[in-house]
């Protein structure tokens, strides 16, 4: 059988895999940024977990950006 036989089905299967894997990667990446941003916002309002002083805390560019943005807003309001 020729390699090109049913190429449309093969291409569709690999396209489906790219879409499913892409959605999963986008989901975990965007969710990580969203949670980091929310924690940064709450911490800037003074809400922190007691154990955070000794535990490992996540850092991300999104978290840093949110922290800077909220700090700027606070400065403008002041």
């Amino acid at each position: 059988m020729e390699t090109t036989a049913h190429i449309d089905f093969i291409a569709a299967a690999y396209a489906a895999a790219v879409i499913v894997v892409g959605v999963l990667i986008a989901w975990v990446t965007l969710d990580y940024r969203a949670q980091g941003r929310r924690i940064a916002e709450l911490e800037l309002q003074g809400f922190t977990r007691r154990s955070d002083t000794t535990s490992a805390r996540p850092t991300s560019p999104a978290k840093e950006a949110a922290r800077e943005q909220t700090a700027e807003q606070s400065a403008e309001q002041a």
């Binding site: 089905f9 299967a13 690999y14 489906a16 999963l24 996540p58």
Partner: protein, 242 residues
């Protein structure tokens, strides 16, 4: 770091933050090699090039079942030890398992049409795999229905353990009933029926998929721990406002 240390969410976060970038890098490299091996692998003498769909279909089927197995172990951790990281594992893994099961069903349909002449038949293997996908959706719905994570975890754990009955049904469905789906051809008594030049790329691709699965589960677990921290801080915020 001892393995037991990872049972602490904060230590787990530290481990995950360090491990995820490395795992992601290795996953990309292994995937690139696996895809190259899959593309240069010979066509099957009967199926022709459509056998290349197997390199997606079989690993996603394995991981769909492996993920439910992982969730079942986590369910025991929730019900027996009430460990919060068990809840986190179960919740984080469910959407990933659902995605791989969906990919298995879609690629199976696309493989079935040229080989069987139909996208779908209600045979035991296909139906039990569809049941697994529906079970994943039920678990995800249950997580989102109950607001308190610890209460939701116990309900989900029971559903997960009941749903684990579907795993041996999927595995042995092709032996117990007459199915259009082929019988076991990779792991079977008497050895694999697949020629090594096709089997080896399948194992490499399965390794790549497994690395992807581990990376995604670790990342999703990290997100879930952070989500619970957000919830704790929001509760502190709400109580401070009152």
């Amino acid at each position: 770091m001892a393995l037991i240390d990872l049972a602490n969410p904060s230590r787990f976060l530290k481990f995950a933050n360090g491990a995820i970038p490395w795992l992601a890098g290795v996953t990309v490299l292994v995937f690139a090699f696996a895809l190259e091996q899959a593309m240069i692998a010979p066509d099957d003498y009967q199926q022709g090039a459509t056998v290349k769909i197997m390199y997606l279909h079989v690993p996603s089927a394995w991981l769909g079942m492996l993920c439910w197995g992982l969730m079942s172990v986590a369910a025991l951790g929730t019900l027996v030890w009430r460990h919060p990281l068990a809840d986190v594992t179960a919740k984080a893994a469910a959407p990933i398992g659902a995605a791989f099961t969906l990919l298995c069903l879609v690629t199976g349909s696309l493989w079935g049409r040229p080989e069987w002449g139909t996208y779908w038949v209600w045979d035991a293997r296909l139906t039990s795999e569809l049941v697994l996908f529906l079970l994943y959706l039920a678990v995800i719905a249950l997580w989102n229905t109950v607001e308190d994570p610890s209460r939701a975890a116990r309900a989900v754990a029971v559903l997960t353990l009941v749903g684990a009955i579907d795993l041996p049904i999927i595995k042995f469905s092709v032996d117990w009933w007459n199915t259009l789906h082929q019988g076991a051809s990779v792991f079977r008594v008497g050895g694999s029926t697949i020629y090594p030049t096709i089997l080896l790329p399948l194992f490499i691709m399965a390794g790549a998929f497994t690395l992807l699965f581990i990376t995604l589960v670790l990342a999703a677990m990290r997100n879930e721990i952070l989500r619970r921290r957000v919830r704790t801080l929001q509760l502190m915020q709400a109580s401070a406002a009152n």
